[in-house]
């Protein structure tokens, strides 16, 4: 039996230092919605990039309609009926909808001299009508909403006569009504006999639309299941269920005292009814899916954003930071998620970055005390084991792990009482990860309050004394770091179970 429209067999792919995919099998039949699920970093996107030729595979074979194929680029795959729609769209905002749908493939007239605009607009109108999108083909793409742009991408794929449409986490950018109409369209594509590969890590959606779901974990195939035959917790177990590494330091706390207290904080659509206590001497893990509001909450605590209603108490006093500068001078630090954009100044030296927060302390009348600056930087490099060619080395030439250590060291020398870390080990190799974990734990032992945001569940569980889980702007539960399992957290992070929030804290010693 071989009715598969495409099949991938024994696919392996490695990047320097990482086995991204190992002997993965994946196939689709015509008229099927096949979900590809797994945690961040499970290899879902990598597998699809291998399918469309954006990555070359190390091992294995891909067959489309029974024939073995070797795509050299996504463009090549497109010509052969496979279109992929990324979270970041391939549309040009300055051009209109129809011009975008046909970009690079304009229909011609006058012996190829001019664009056949009648055909271009008529065909675009037809395609958009078939999607019931209600989008004017003359509208500039830049004026469209994200959901509408997604429709234009789908129209573009249809215009290319795609039989197979891969959608990379479409629900990461649309939700609610827009997501419903996306589902309606995906179902109508299915009725037309097209195959849709739907990448997601949201369990609900998979049960809502997928005919089959293939689960990946750490680059390996866990299994392919029919959602209607199984229960939700089973899929969640397939997605996680792994033992924790022995990479985490012992959970020894410092002196515990309430430092920050949030009471019923609301902010626009991103934060709802947030109440949370943060204690010195312990690590509070913040879990949740991308877009659940963790970073927004961190930005409020750091004074980078304001909030609408609610109360924030810091050391018992009600506060409302005007800007990060006041938060910093009151003892709050923030190691941001996006190192390159917000964490350091790439063209400045290691020394200058290390001392950027304590400049007022080491300068007099606007002049930096150079010997003190050198000593401080020297001490940091030693203490945090930063591998650099020297203090004058530009930080952009350091490895990701060492850049992160510089950032941590910079904040620690500023002596904050509370430090927030957003994805502190993203893009950091395993060796440096362990060192960073130790630095973080040491801060807690020294009596600082640490908030650690992470999408890596093992890291959250391995590091945190207490874990708060967010889902759609709310804190859906709190759980002790000793009782937490990946299943429990994921259930809360996907809104499967609603913990009682703040009354749910266990004190475990």
């Amino acid at each position: 039996m071989n009715s598969n429209i495409f099949e991938m067999k024994g696919i392996s792919k490695s990047f320097p230092g990482v086995q991204a995919l190992y002997k993965v099998e994946f196939a689709c039949v015509p008229g099927e919605i096949h979900a590809l699920v797994g945690e961040n970093g499970a290899g879902k996107s990598t597998l699809m990039k291998v399918l469309v030729g954006a990555y070359r595979l190390d091992e294995g074979e891909i067959r489309v309609k029974g024939k073995r194929v070797f795509f050299s680029s996504p463009k090549d795959a497109q010509v052969n009926g496979i279109s992929i729609i990324y979270q970041e769209f391939n549309l040009i905002p300055e051009l209109n909808v129809a011009e975008n749908i046909f970009l690079g493939r304009e229909p011609l007239k006058m012996k190829g001299l001019a664009i056949d605009n009648e055909h271009l607009y008529a065909r675009s109108k037809e395609l958009l009508a078939s999607l019931e999108a209600g989008i004017d083909p003359h509208e500039k793409v830049g004026n469209l909403s994200v959901a509408q742009q997604q429709m234009v991408e789908i129209a573009k794929a249809l215009c290319l006569n795609a039989d197979i449409i891969v959608m990379d986490e479409p629900s990461a950018i649309v939700s609610g009504k827009e997501l419903e109409s996306l589902f309606r369209i995906i179902n109508s594509l299915k009725e037309d006999g097209k195959s849709v590969v739907y990448i997601s890590h949201r369990i609900d959606e998979i049960f809502q639309i997928a005919d089959r779901a293939t689960v990946l974990k750490d680059g390996r195939l866990v299994g392919t299941v029919r959602p209607k035959d199984i229960e939700k917790p089973e899929i969640i177990r397939m997605m996680v269920g792994r033992s924790l590494d022995q990479t985490f330091p012992k959970k020894e706390k410092g002196k515990r005292k309430e430092l920050l207290s949030l009471k019923e904080i609301y902010k626009g659509k991103v934060l709802k009814d947030i109440s949370l206590q943060v204690y010195s001497g312990e690590i509070l893990g913040m879990a949740g899916l991308v877009g659940s509001g963790r970073t927004d909450l961190a930005r409020v605590i750091f004074g980078a954003d304001g909030f609408d209603t609610g109360k924030m108490l810091f050391e018992g006093k009600e506060v409302r930071w005007l800007n990060p500068k006041t938060a910093i001078s009151n003892g709050i630090g923030f190691v941001t998620e996006d190192r390159k954009a917000e964490g350091f100044v790439g063209c400045l030296s290691v020394k200058e970055n290390l001392t950027s927060l304590i400049l007022p302390k080491i300068s007099k009348w606007g002049w930096i005390n150079a010997p003190v600056q050198d000593e401080t930087a020297e001490a940091c490099v030693k203490q945090f084991n930063i591998a650099t060619a020297g203090l004058e080395q530009e930080i952009q030439f350091l490895s990701g792990g060492n850049q992160q250590k510089v950032i941590l060291a910079k904040w620690i020398t500023a002596q904050p009482k509370l430090i927030i870390m957003d994805e502190p080990t993203r893009g950091v190799d395993v060796g440096a990860k362990v060192e960073i974990y130790q630095i973080i734990r040491r801060m807690a032992q020294e009596g600082k309050a640490v908030i650690m945001i992470s999408s890596e569940l093992p890291e959250i569980i391995g590091m945190s004394d207490r874990i708060a889980v967010m889902y759609e702007g709310r804190i859906t539960g709190e759980i002790s770091g000793f009782d937490a399992t990946e299943e429990k957290i994921l259930m809360m992070a996907t809104g499967q179970i609603k913990g009682n929030g703040r009354n749910h804290v266990h004190e475990s010693r």
């Binding site: 040009i92 209109n96 011009e99 493939r105 004017d136």
Partner: protein, 311 residues
């Protein structure tokens, strides 16, 4: 047919630019009685030719999010070579014109080639070629030199009624440019390139080829300006093109094309050309010194660009 939001917005820019031009004409006409006389109108149209031709090419380049600062030196080179090689002989008109067009296209090709291969920004690349070409011209001759073919001179000074002949040439070039931009795949790809080069490439646009043609067309438009100026002056001048390096940008920017690329077009540039020539003509008629004209021009550029960037 109903107009979409995007179209209305785009058209609004054009309407504003033409309204400014219209207002300028009305003010000029009411402050000087000479302004509307056919002879003066003819003057304005002739003034528009040199700046107009080169800014058409510049528009294409800026739409791709590039810039060409070498146009001034190409104009000087064309002017000197044309007069220097023709030496007043009509028989040399066609061969010399062909030669300077070829040289212009080669310079445009080099610009694009260097931009693509080195990854250096167009600003720096064309600044470099500008310096090289301008230096070459001054090596060739450091003073006014040569004699343009009489046919070229009579073309430059020719009239059809009160309309100067070369102005009709400008209109033809402009119309061709509009057709290319609005109706051909090449034109659409110019916009796509200016919008987002990476996405354009991924959509199958041959971005390198588009760049090469665009810079070649831009240099070609500078050659046209150079030929016209050689005819109008009757001889070559090694520094005649220098002001066009920056002047060629002014109609483009005033006409609503953004330096960041992807937005704007030739109808705006046309209004920009006339805003500048009418302004300079009116200020001349009022006896305002050229230095003041610079100040007014600067204010207009800053005002216009600030206005468009805000929208």
């Amino acid at each position: 047919m109903s107009m979409s939001l995007g179209k209305v917005k785009e058209n609004r820019t054009i309407i504003i630019v033409y309204f400014i031009l219209f207002a300028l004409v009305v003010i000029s006409a009411s402050s000087s009685e000479i302004f509307l006389r056919p002879r003066n109108i003819g003057n304005i149209l002739r003034q528009a030719v040199a700046i107009g031709l080169v800014s058409i090419g510049q528009t294409l380049v800026i739409l791709t999010a590039g810039i060409d600062l070498s146009v001034g030196s190409v104009i000087s080179l064309t002017s000197c070579l044309t007069a220097g090689l023709m030496m007043g002989r009509n028989s040399m008109l066609i061969p010399v014109a062909a030669l300077v067009i070829g040289i212009g296209l080669a310079i445009g090709f080099m610009n694009a080639f260097l931009i693509i291969k080195t990854g250096i920004s167009p600003l720096i690349v064309t600044l470099g070629t500008m310096s090289i070409v301008q230096g070459g011209v001054l090596v060739y001759t450091n003073a006014a030199y040569g004699e343009a073919a009489p046919l070229l001179v009579s073309f430059a000074w020719g009239q059809v009624g009160f309309v100067p002949g070369p102005f009709l040439f400008l209109v033809a070039v402009g119309a061709a440019g509009m057709f290319v931009l609005k109706r051909t795949p090449f034109g659409r790809h110019i916009y796509a390139l200016g919008g987002n080069e990476e996405i354009a490439r991924r959509s199958g646009v041959k971005t390198d080829r588009v760049k090469i043609f665009t810079y070649m067309l831009c240099s070609l438009s500078a050659v046209f300006t150079g030929l016209f100026l050689a005819g109008r002056m009757g001889m070559g001048d090694p520094l005649i093109g220098a002001p066009y390096m920056l002047d060629s940008l002014v109609p483009v920017l005033v006409g609503g094309t953004l330096l960041s690329g992807g937005k704007g077009g030739l109808s705006g540039t046309f209004a920009g050309i006339f805003i500048l020539t009418v302004l300079s003509n009116a200020l001349n008629l009022l006896g305002v010194s050229g230095y003041w004209q610079w100040i007014v021009e600067g204010v207009i550029i800053l005002g216009a660009v600030a206005f468009y960037e805000k929208r």
